[in-house]
């Protein structure tokens, strides 16, 4: 992400748009990266001076600085003063200087002349060496791992994130996404300390209203930074729209974004299935001849404070709908929470398939309204199909 002084946006009415890079500005990314590469094993001070020279009097200077900021966040600098210990050197020199009883340029020169020979240095070099450990004298040791294109992507994403710094709340509309995407979406919201309320249904899509605990009392920009950090996770979802309500200079503005946006997420796509168990179940269902179609576009159940997202939906050509939740190998703590969720979700048309390897029995599912199916090893699609026929 970028500091506010390197962010650009423009307004049209009550809409605000991040200013993404124009094609001809992309060239700066390569120039900045080349310059950084040329400065490997050289000082931060030199690199900064070179970057200043690169931007020159160009009105694009903030783009240069933005690229440099993002690239150098991924670089490493190391202190390299060799044998000299600047801190000890300062102590020695400053103590000697103080002992002279009065400060002045002549006295300073005499002190340096006394000390310099001990380190086999010129007096002028000694004067410089006093602060050789300052950050600007650190050496660039590890280069950032960026291609120019990736840096451009990162820059544009940072501009979009920057708008969210002043967000009061987000409204997300999501529909026809696979369960894993929904789960990760909610996991990321939670991870960033955000809260949400979910409305809607499978067919029309879900509206997810995002803000933070204290937003209840007054609208606040306190959660804007968290929303900005959350944005890359949203880009991992397949189909969504976002409207962010911003407050800037006392003005209410809206920023809209959707899954058609060219913004690129930070990380590689996660696996399509959360577990092998699910994947093999889905693959074997395909081979079954049945009017029940297995779909991954599922329902979201808002449990007030958390959500329940089943693994699969099953749709019959006659309009009947059921859901399947597979409980495979889980941590005991997770299992306890999952059970609590199943009870609270109270879905009569939800088939819970439970591995016999888990330390749970039929007793644990007393309050779960739907059918429970225990299985050994792999979950047989046939067994699910049988259960389906017995659903009311």
């Amino acid at each position: 992400m970028l500091p506010s002084d390197l962010l650009f946006s423009h307004k049209r009415g009550a809409q605000v748009y991040p200013r993404f890079l124009r094609r001809e500005q992309h060239a700066w990314a390569e120039r900045v990266l080349n310059l950084i590469r040329e400065h490997q094993h050289r000082t931060r001070g030199e690199l900064h001076a070179a970057l200043r020279a690169l931007e020159g009097d160009s009105p694009d200077y903030r783009i240069v600085r933005g690229f440099a900021h993002l690239a150098l966040n991924a670089a490493e600098f190391t202190l390299a003063t060799g044998e000299l210990e600047p801190e000890a050197l300062r102590r020695e020199v400053f103590t000697l200087a103080a002992e002279r009883g009065g400060y002045g340029e002549t006295q300073a020169r005499e002190v340096l002349e006394t000390v310099a020979p001990r380190y086999r240095l010129e007096t002028a070099t000694l004067r410089e060496a006093l602060y050789a450990d300052l950050p600007e004298n650190h050496l660039l040791t590890a280069l950032p791992d960026f291609t120019p294109d990736r840096l451009v992507d990162r820059y544009n994403l940072a501009q979009a994130q920057g708008l969210l710094y002043s967000a009061l709340y987000l409204r997300l509309i999501a529909h026809r996404n696979v369960p894993g995407e929904y789960r990760r979406l909610f996991q990321h919201l939670k991870f960033h300390g955000l809260m949400y309320a979910v409305e809607g249904n499978l067919d029309d899509g879900y509206q997810i209203y995002v803000d933070g605990p204290a937003s209840l009392f007054k609208q606040t920009r306190k959660y804007g930074l968290q929303m900005a950090m959350f944005l890359p996770a949203l880009l991992r979802v397949s189909r969504w729209e976002m409207e962010a309500m911003l407050q800037r200079d006392g003005q209410a503005l809206s920023y809209r974004l959707d899954s058609q946006s060219p913004l690129k997420p930070l990380t590689a796509a996660p696996p399509a299935y959360d577990s092998l168990l699910e994947e093999s179940f889905a693959r074997r269902w395909e081979k079954l001849e049945t009017p029940w179609a297995l779909e991954r576009e599922v329902e979201i159940v808002d449990l007030k404070g958390t959500v329940f997202v089943p693994d699969f939906a099953l749709r019959h050509s006659d309009g009947r709908v059921a859901h399947v939740e597979i409980m495979g190998f889980w941590h005991p703590d997770y299992l306890r929470r999952k059970l609590d969720k199943l009870r609270r979700a109270a879905m009569p048309n939800l088939i819970v398939a439970v591995s016999e390897r888990l330390n749970v029995g039929a007793d644990d599912f007393r309050d779960v309204p739907g059918p429970v199916l225990f299985f050994k090893g792999k979950l047989e699609p046939r067994a699910v199909l049988d259960t389906l026929e017995h659903l009311p």
Binding site: A98, G102, K190, P213, K304
Partner: protein, 497 residues
């Protein structure tokens, strides 16, 4: 990190017993669960939160809420702070004004702001408050130096008590914890239930948009603000009433002078730019002004300045003009003439404890390298910083140079000469810089030099009223400085910016 709070609203709640009415802390708010309907009289504070199907109130209302709510609750899980018997190992003999300040704060039920000039021992008032409140406490400080200073003090005063730090690379919440405002604001969502007393040192920092959550997201019933200068140029100082409490005690420097503060004297030193510098300065100004004129801009208002910043980003000419503006500033600030003047001042006070203030790091390092005076900037690591201050206190070093870091509250005893190289005229900064050398001494007379380049922009900052250079000028300037202590008396000198 120890003591992670589980943010339960974000995690799955298990085994919740709906019959049980409980209050708990949830990320800077109070959550009342297990109530079908809100008990009467609580609607002032609580709102229904459909996101979690419970009632929620702002955490900082805890003190007001808990009285009427107590009888309604099966369990109160909100506060997680403890009662602590704090036995102070330090022999404290408070001055009358310190005792009065504590009494006034106690009379206000442990919520309020105490205003005392720098050097009048605000920290001791804080220590007295800690001993009185006997609750786990979080102390907010604006700088790492102050953090260090409070840490040393608490270690000495309460040697048996765990003292933690948050900020400056540390994250150790303890019953007594010192945090920077920055770090406290970042972590208060998770820490707001762990302290019964919040102590805000240099409390005028609190009302900013980013820091105010420290007060809002904490349920601490006791709150004390300490500051020399509660006024803020954005007018938000009135928010202190809600965030901490009313100003319960206030004393001005002249009300304490003689008693506590050393007598002081201000001597402006005007230096001239060298002919070459003057040419460069003029060229830079001309270049900038040409751009301003061409674009019909004036810099005497904030709006004009903002337009200049905006326009300058859009064209090559604008960029040049902005650079020229900066060059002019740099010439005025870091002129070698000032360093020559500094040499003169140092020669006039051989062996005197001297603190030199600069506005930027580069000048601080330049002074350090030229005169071999130890230098403190925000880049100086805590260990070395402490070493330099210790050696300055013990007299090994006779002078230190610093870029702003000493502005607030750092204990530098005994300094009798202060030099401001390239300062600005913000009232707060000035009072605090003066305060630095006004610490109680043995009848010494402190001197503050303000080194100003003549005929530059800076001179106008230092003296908004243009005065002809006549013999009466010095006297007037000292009066103008004094007026800074007293808002009612200050007429032409408003805080800068």
């Amino acid at each position: 990190m120890k003591n992670i709070t589980k943010d339960t609203a974000g995690l799955y709640r298990t085994g919740r017993d709906d019959a049980e009415r409980q209050l708990r802390f949830d990320r800077g708010t109070l959550l009342l669960e297990g109530v079908a309907e809100l008990p009467a009289g609580l609607e002032t504070w609580f709102c229904y939160d459909p996101r979690v199907d419970a009632y929620r109130a702002p955490a900082h209302r805890y003190g007001e809420i808990i009285g009427p709510l107590k009888g309604e609750l099966a369990r109160n899980q909100a506060p997680r702070y403890q009662r602590r018997e704090l036995v102070c190992a330090l022999e404290m003999i408070p001055y009358p004004h310190q005792q009065e300040a504590l009494a006034a704060w106690r009379a206000a039920k442990g919520r309020g702001v105490v205003v005392l000039p720098t050097g009048a021992g605000k920290t001791l008032v804080g220590l007295l408050a800690l001993c009185w409140a006997r609750r786990d406490a979080l102390i907010m400080v604006p700088t790492l130096d102050l953090m260090q200073q409070w840490y040393a003090l608490l270690r000495t005063a309460f040697p048996d008590q765990e003292t933690g730090l948050i900020g400056g690379g540390y994250h150790e919440p303890q019953p007594l914890t010192i945090a920077t405002y920055d770090s406290a604001a970042r972590h208060i969502e998770r820490l707001g239930d762990r302290f019964g007393l919040l102590l805000f040192d240099e409390a005028h920092h609190l009302p900013s948009e980013f820091y105010r959550v420290i007060a809002e997201f904490s349920l601490a019933p006791y709150r004390l603000g300490l500051t020399a200068t509660p006024e803020r140029s954005d007018g938000k100082d009135t928010d202190l009433l809600d965030l901490i409490g009313p100003i319960v005690y206030r004393k001005r420097p002249e009300q304490l002078a003689g008693d506590v503060l050393a007598d002081f004297q201000v001597r402006p030193v005007h230096v001239d730019l060298s002919p070459a510098e003057r040419v460069a300065y003029q060229q830079a100004l001309d270049e900038r002004n040409a751009f301003l004129q061409a674009n019909h801009l004036a810099l005497n208002t904030l709006e004009g300045w903002n337009r200049f910043v905006m326009l300058s980003a859009r064209s090559v000419d604008g960029r040049r003009a902005m650079r020229a503006h900066r060059d002019a500033r740099r010439i005025a600030h870091a002129t070698p003439a000032k360093l020559r003047a500094l040499g003169m001042i140092l020669a006039n006070h051989p062996g005197a404890k001297t603190v030199i203030f600069t506005e930027d790091n580069a000048t601080a390092y330049e002074v350090s390298q030229r005169f071999l005076i130890p230098c403190l900037t925000h880049q100086t690591l805590i260990k070395e910083r402490q070493d330099i201050l210790d050696r300055f206190k013990s007299g090994v070093y006779a002078a230190i140079v610093t870029s702003n870091v000493l502005n607030e509250g750092v204990d530098v005893p005994d300094a009798s000469v202060g030099v401001i190289l390239s300062g600005s005229a913000s009232a707060r900064e000035f009072v605090q810089r003066l305060g630095r050398i006004l610490r109680r001494g043995d009848g010494k007379k402190a001197v503050l030099y303000e080194v100003i380049a003549r005929e530059t922009r800076e001179e106008r900052v230092a003296d908004r009223r243009r005065m002809p250079p006549d013999p009466g000028r010095k006297v007037e300037r000292i009066e103008a400085t004094l007026a800074l202590f007293d808002p009612e008396r200050s007429t032409g000198l408003k805080p800068g910016r």
